[in-house]
Amino acid sequence: MDDLRLDLNALDYTILGAYFVTVLGIGFLARRSIRSSLDFLMSGRSLPAWVTGLAFIAANLGALEILGMAANGAQYGVATVHYYWIGAVPAMVFLGIVMLPFYYGSKVRSVPEFLRLRFNHSTHLLNAVSFAVSAVLIAGVNLYALAIVLEALLGWPLWTAIVVAAALVLAYISLGGLSSAIYNEVLQFFVILAGLIPLVVVGLNDMGGWSGLEDKVAANENGGEGFLHAWQGTAVGDVTNPLGSSWIGIVFGLGFLLSFGYWTTNFAEVQRAMSAQNMSAARRTPLIGAYPKLFIPALTIIPGLIALVVFPKLGAEEGSFTYTNAIPLLIERYLPNGVLGIAVTGLLAAFMAGMAANVSSFNTVFTYDIWQTYVKKDRDDAYYLRVGRLVTVVGVCIGIGTAFIAAGYSNIMNYVQTLFSFFNVPLFVTFIIGMFWKRMTAWAGFWSLLTGTLAALTTWILYKAEVISFRTDLEETFWGSGAAFVVGVTVAVVVTMVTTPKPDDELQGLVRGVGATDLSAGELVGDRTWYRNPVLLGMIALALAIVLYIPFW
């Protein structure tokens, strides 16, 4: 069989229908709590930590992440765990323990707004615009990921799939704003797990357990022993691992630059923590998210490896057997009606989680950081609430357009990593220096951000024009990030030397060591319990990330 097509029956469609109804229901319920633009765009800063924490991880667990990481599992093997254990968890812990006190404590409503206070309006506008662009580009990637799944699996025409799913996201966000997006993300988290766990259980059973799978992957002509190890073959000068990167690229490129850039400055993620009810809950948000993140590779990489064994033709450039289709192919092979409906609903949920995170952060940045700051100042709040709703519609429509850009990439995860090296890494560099070095001047912020972005862009253009070469697309993103880092740091230091720093009283609560941040702000009874201590939660997560590497060395 060359055609990938699922045979959904009435039960499966009932499950899918019940999900659609629930999603819209959450939108209508959340609408009741909307009284102001802050309610709509920031959930009124009222959510408990377990809700924001699960939303934090679900916002990242888009269809893109699931399909993309399974694709990487099939293409690169166990080494894909780097994206989780070194490429996510340390940065999430850093965000919770070190950075959120600045974000949450300064009461800013977005990441660009922090830059406006720390640096100047130019830096702010540059970042607000580049974030808005990247948010709609990534929303488009999620749309595309969903559309190919629906077209392939259910036989829905591409356009029908795009419009139905986009309309649903549009409906619940424009009704209930960020609260609706976040509550749906919590629900989506559970539905996604309910869809993936049975697939892994059945697949592993068919392979004869984990050891059976290991034997089959090692013997596979497209796999091999190297597919079962995370760190072997990563020595500098003797790179033989499937990722095509040395440990320096993995640790500094992925583990430090790309990962810290994404998790600590990407507003789609940080926004979830900013909507928490108090400082303690805000800091625990990424830490609570880190625990599921440690174990999600079992649900993405294992299916990728199983698909590698089960489908000898996997890895085709186009058609049903692309790497990206690893999970849909397994769903078709293993899941009977019933669980099938859950799995399809889970993929849809994942798509919506990813898209909604981008749209709900896009509308906040556009409304507060672009419209209110530069276009129409000093209107009443009801006006900005209307703008927020309208911008949601615009964002979804642009997302539909950008879906076609994503269609040009065979491994969509690489496309996304490329985008991150453009947008997130330079931002992270500017941020981290600005947060720890109070002398850094306003214009140093601007030029560091601009030249860092151009450095990553130039690396990519030179790679595409074949002026410089890398072993894999992935390796290009590591080096592009490295270029952004070096250029960003150098420019920040040089410009600081020739311009005047801001006075201390303008930097209160924005820079480490200037003014005090109240870590117990808004504390509730019980927030001091030992298991709610952010530092302890973070250290346990880091320790687990190290321990999990041991069997896959």
Binding site: I15, I26, S36, L47, H121, L125, L187, A194, V339
Partner: protein, 115 residues
């Protein structure tokens, strides 16, 4: 690019728009409890999938490498749904400072003053 005139305002003046939204209008903590929604949906899913698992024939198990996957998944989801509902019972939603947790909400939700 933004002009410099905006850039050199005092911190307090530049914060004014943040303060306005923060101080005056962030009191709407009237949110329903998501546990009820998750609990209800998973209980429904659990019953549906468990039912399918009990009724479907050997074909289904054969496809799933010999596991009655519908039965197990159904049981798992049912358990999660019931646990969520039980958690609601044990620790009911916090009633925030906001007084009107009423159900009408819809009309005028955006225009009603918050204080």
């Amino acid at each position: 690019m933004a002009d410099e005139a905006q850039g050199d305002g005092t911190r307090a003046a530049r914060d004014s728009e943040i303060e306005r939204t923060t101080e005056a209008e962030s009191s709407a903590a009237r949110l329903f409890d998501v546990r009820r929604v998750i609990g209800a949906l998973f209980t429904l899913y659990g019953v549906l999938v468990l039912g399918a698992g009990l009724l479907d024939g050997d074909d289904a198990a054969e496809k799933a490498s010999g596991i009655d996957i519908n039965v197990w998944t159904g049981l798992g989801m049912l358990l999660l749904g019931l646990l969520m509902l039980a958690w609601m019972k044990v620790s009911p939603p916090r009633v925030g400072p906001a007084q009107d947790r009423d159900g009408d909400g819809e009309a005028g939700a955006a225009s009603r003053p918050t204080h």
